[in-house]
Symmetry: C2
Subunit: 217 residues, 2 copies
């Protein structure tokens, strides 16, 4: 029997690396999809490349030049990446690192690739700790996008369909680290820092959450 | 009072031209968004440019290089654009000119632009005659995408929101032509043919539907 195919959104960070190994463990025939969207931490793409090579998974990078993205701190080097206390992350309001529509754009391109290649799943590493701040990391957002997949794809029109899977959605960072270790993910071949310098800053949300995860795991 | 802003998806074809003038007539402050996705009828983009210049509307083009799109007739010059009888269009099955996930990708990038610039509406020229064949031209698809806008955007999280408007969805081509004339759309500054040669082929779906529209209007 032919293996089911999946498109995995691989950023180069820890969460998407765990997703990739999770999908491989589930028996999917995986292809990775990465995005160069002008993020200041573009260095993550080198980690994505090494990770996928190590896992033996083919990978594509889509280049997006969206000049209107200069209004957020992940795309604009002149804006400050906030060095926040972890407790602030859970508060209301959207962080300056929110990239407008990012996950919707990523999922829509993954949908296009899935619909063109017959993949039945899209795997994304969104997780619980993010969704207090980012509207496109909430469970309700993924349910909504699932409906788009059911209504707008050829695959669904032909009775097969594409599912969006976010296996880390309700896990803590510590649980993600433990899952990654169990699955044999080379966690040293991942990059989380938003600042995009040669070494992790140790102060941004991504660094703090990652450190907390490792500490607690 | 500040005018409401809208992002109009402008392909260079008749339907999106009518949408642009419709949105202007509704009082929106319009910005146009076009896509160069390797379509063989890329010549439509020159029409989009002339149309927007004439309307005094700023326009952006996003370039998408998606190698997996080579499996459909709109992106692959080696595939035949079907010269179909109009009655076949309403039959079941998805035409070879279906571009996987295209409208989802277009809407998601329009969402990103809207969320970054404070636009409250996205206007798309999808219409009734198409949706028998294209899954992403059906009313249910637009309802599903509206939910994504409600769940995944900063604008919605802040209580404003973005609406997706498809004013031509239930109109016939003849009604679109009449609406265009009423709105003063320069219909000669639009391009519909899929084949992408110097003159319209007169045989593809797009040509046939356009001709039928003019004849009946």
């Amino acid at each position: 029997m032919e293996k089911k195919k999946a498109v995995i959104l691989v950023s180069g960070g820890m969460d998407s690396a765990v997703c990739l190994y999770w999908a491989m463990a589930k028996g999917y025939d995986c292809q990775a999809l990465s995005f160069d969207y002008g993020q200041r931490h573009r260095r993550e793409l080198g980690f994505a490349e090494r990770l996928c090579r190590r896992a033996g998974v083919p990978r594509r990078t889509v280049r997006l030049r969206l000049p209107w993205l200069k209004t957020n701190a992940l795309n604009n080097r002149r804006m400050k990446i906030p060095a926040r206390k972890l407790k602030v992350i859970a508060a209301d309001g959207i962080p300056p690192t929110y990239v407008p529509g990012r996950n919707t754009v990523f999922l829509s391109l993954a949908m296009s690739l899935s619909d063109a290649t017959g993949a039945s799943a899209i795997v994304i590493g969104a997780n619980a700790l993010d969704f207090s701040g980012y509207p496109d990391c909430r469970p309700a957002f993924y349910r909504a996008f699932q409906r788009v997949l059911m209504r707008g794809s050829r695959s669904a029109a032909q009775g097969r369909g594409i599912r969006v899977l976010a296996p880390l959605l309700r896990l803590s960072k510590a649980q993600i680290v433990r899952l990654g270790r169990r699955l044999g993910v080379p966690l040293d071949t991942t990059w989380s820092c938003y600042a995009g310098r040669a070494r992790p800053c140790g102060r941004c949300d991504a660094c703090l959450l990652r450190a907390k995860g490792f500490r607690e795991a």
